[in-house]
């Protein structure tokens, strides 16, 4: 698989209508792989839709949709292995679930239940799981970047065969964290992939107000790093580029910056009103002409791997799985009030012991 270095035309494997525009065979993916990939896209969208409803019902306090970015998230997570580390951001549940987070856990996270691996301790933008090498995403935009680089430095020091991927948005590239993380990654030649999902907005701020370059990917050069610009709505292209960078990192050939050019359909989060800043027609264009799921379905169809009947069966199946996952989450208890003091330190300090007594008295337990 040959990935050419940065140009300002996004790397594509599929045309917008799904027809292959590059040699997809070189990816070495089987029919089963394709079918799994498609299922993951559809599943991620279904989870997203369901969460949106939870928020509207007032049952979840916060939600950042990934709709529109499924190919970007899934395509970049698939090349990773168990020993690899993944740092998500506030909009990466698609990737987290590929790494192993269960949908039921994600729903529990939305609902603040004990099945949530973070046990309801985080605003629901993504929990971590230690056994998956997946720290809880940072709320403070950009904080995960230097951490991911530190983990990659540790992987090098400990001669681990794992690598690290780190997700962040276009807006995050303006923070000092991006700069410092990029520089450390390059200076230490660390096995890390810095994966920027450029969905063109940071809340209301468009990329051209965020920075004065046309792309994010070209910024890599300022660090002596390789940068790649990929069409983030093209699952195969995202997969190919990420796989390339993962192999490179594993081979000790250092870090890469990937810009995945995509678009979010929802408002920034459940607290946002995107009609205030989105130009008319833009969303409609992306939804109808650039949708990553439709594009991959068309690809499958072009390869005679998909038809209406298969689609219907899949939707039924996915719907059932989503319902089951949500039910599991709902069956999970809310955290006990007394646990609010747990996990501040490895052990209770004298001060926290004192507070534990006060809290018990207050709660009458």
């Amino acid at each position: 698989m040959q990935i050419k270095p940065f140009t300002d035309t996004p790397i594509k494997y599929l045309e917008y209508d799904g027809r292959p525009s590059a040699d997809v065979k070189e990816l070495g993916l089987s029919t089963d792989d394709y079918l799994r990939m498609y299922r993951e896209l559809v599943f991620a969208r279904a989870v997203d839709d369901r969460c949106y409803i939870l928020v509207r019902q007032g049952r979840s306090g916060f939600f950042a949709q990934i709709a529109g970015q499924e190919a970007s998230q899934i395509g970049s997570a698939l090349p990773l292995r168990a020993q690899d580390w993944m740092y998500g951001d506030h909009r990466s549940q698609g990737s987290l679930m590929i790494k192993g987070l269960k949908a039921s856990e994600w729903f529990a996270h939305q609902l603040g239940r004990m099945l949530d691996p973070s046990q309801g301790r985080l605003m629901p933008h993504g929990p971590g799981r230690r056994d998956l090498n997946m720290p809880p995403p940072s709320s403070t935009v950009g904080n995960q970047i230097t951490e991911a680089v530190g983990t990659a430095m540790a992987q090098h020091i400990k001669k681990s065969d794992g690598i690290t991927i780190c997700y962040f948005g276009d807006g995050a590239t303006s923070e000092g964290d991006f700069h410092v993380g990029m520089n450390f990654a390059a200076v230490y030649n660390s096995p890390v992939i810095l994966f920027c999902q450029n969905n063109q907005y940071a809340i209301s701020v468009k990329l051209e107000e965020q920075t004065h370059t046309k792309t994010i990917a070209e910024k890599a050069k300022a660090y002596g790093m390789e940068g790649f610009l990929v069409d983030g709505n093209d699952l195969l292209a995202v997969y190919a580029v990420t796989k390339h960078c993962a192999d490179k990192a594993r081979a000790g050939r250092g870090p890469s910056l990937i810009e995945s050019y995509t678009y979010r359909y929802g408002p920034h989060s459940s607290a946002d009103d995107d009609t205030r800043y989105r130009p008319k027609g833009e969303l409609e264009m992306w939804r109808t002409q650039r949708d990553p799921i439709m594009r991959f379905r068309n690809f499958l169809a072009s390869q005679k791997l998909w038809d209406e009947k298969k689609e219907e069966a899949l939707l039924v199946d996915v719907k059932a799985e989503v319902a089951k996952a949500l039910a599991e989450a709902e069956a999970s208890p809310v955290p006990e009030m007394m646990t609010v003091l747990d996990h501040t330190y490895a052990a209770y300090t004298p001060q926290l012991e004192w507070e534990r007594k006060e809290l018990a008295a207050e709660l009458g337990v």
């Binding site: 985080l122 605003m123 709320s139 303006s174 923070e175 107000e209 006060e358 809290l359």
Partner: protein
């Protein structure tokens, strides 16, 4: 100077509206006032405090910034030294920390290190505090950091009227002010507030409720909780005085001493974790200066000494029960 056109005398306003009104009045009166921050332009800020301002004052004075608090605060310092009066919005105060260095190393110390030649008439305004299901990074009350930084002033209003008047005073002040807006009560209450600019002086506390048995000292969103606790205790014959500090740095020594001398019992209420919290300062001040008045322990009520939780916010935040227990602890000493 231009003048603000006044049609009616007052407007029924939430705190968000009051803050916005302060911004509009000061920007109208003083062309050197500018504002900068994330999403404050067409989006109007995530809480709509700056809604419509960009249409009124233009892109040069209402500056949508890249996502970098270091730049927001740093640029504000450079603007302020030049002679502007920038009002920097930090979207949530939890996200101030990428720019903390500029605030504590630069804004706070510029006057001192230049022997008074350069100074930073700037305001960093930001929503703070819990009670909105915001979890660990949309709920914090980090006033302790700012109060521990000589050179900064720290202000936190508890109602719309004060919010407008204190913000105007903060903008006009020649020192850098961290203006903490209690987001929990952004839309909790409406008050008639004067149209046109007015000042509520910095450094002056207000008695939110007179009482004679115990002094409950607090600020921001906790004032309402203090009043609720006071009402709760009234039938039990406990008459609580509630002091709303309004300015945390410099805090109002006289008002504190007056109420302590009056009641002899002190409860200090904040949202932040107790350890190392701002109220430690007030306790220390009283224990040094007013110990002769004390008839019981100084009791602090705060959040627990943990990061701010999400699902268990209720178990975390100070509540009427916690406050009344504290009051009884000092009264029954």
């Amino acid at each position: 100077m231009a003048t603000v056109e006044v049609e009616k005398k007052t407007t029924l306003s939430t705190m968000v509206q009051a803050v916005r009104s302060a911004m509009i009045d000061e920007m109208t009166l003083d062309p050197n006032v500018v504002t900068l921050g994330e999403d404050i332009g067409p989006r109007g800020g995530v809480f709509l405090v700056t809604e419509g301002l960009i249409d009124k004052f233009g892109k040069d004075r209402v500056i949508d910034t890249p996502l970098a608090e270091l730049g927001i605060i740093g640029a504000a310092v450079g603007m302020a030294m030049f002679g502007l009066r920038p009002v920097a919005e930090i979207q949530f105060i939890d996200f101030l920390f990428p720019g903390f260095d500029m605030l504590v190393s630069e804004a706070a110390k510029m006057r001192y290190r230049s022997a008074g030649q350069f100074y930073c008439p700037m305001v960093v305004r930001s929503p703070y505090g819990g009670g909105v299901r915001g979890g660990g990074y949309h709920s914090q009350s980090p006033e302790a950091y700012f109060v521990a930084t000589p050179g900064l002033k720290v202000v936190a209003p508890s109602n719309p009227y004060d919010a407008k008047g204190l913000l105007i005073s903060s903008i006009r002040d020649d020192d850098p002010v961290v203006f903490m807006e209690p987001k929990k009560i952004y839309r909790f209450q409406k008050q008639e507030i004067p149209n046109g600019a007015y000042e509520v002086p910095l450094g002056k506390a207000a008695i939110a409720r007179e009482g004679k048995h115990v002094s409950l000292i607090t600020f921001g969103a906790m004032v309402q909780l203090a009043l609720d606790a006071a009402e709760k205790l009234k039938p039990q014959g406990v008459d609580v005085e509630v002091l709303d500090l309004r300015t945390l740095q410099p805090y109002d020594c006289d008002a504190i001493m007056t109420t302590v001398a009056k009641t002899g019992h002190v409860v200090l209420l904040q949202e932040a974790p107790r350890i190392g919290g701002f109220m430690g300062e007030i306790a220390a001040y009283i224990a040094e200066t007013g110990i002769e008045y004390l008839e019981g322990p100084i009791v602090r009520v705060g959040g627990w000494d943990t990061p701010f939780p999400y699902a268990l916010e209720k178990a975390y935040m100070p509540n009427v029960e916690r406050v009344t227990r504290a009051i009884k602890k000092t009264l029954n000493f």
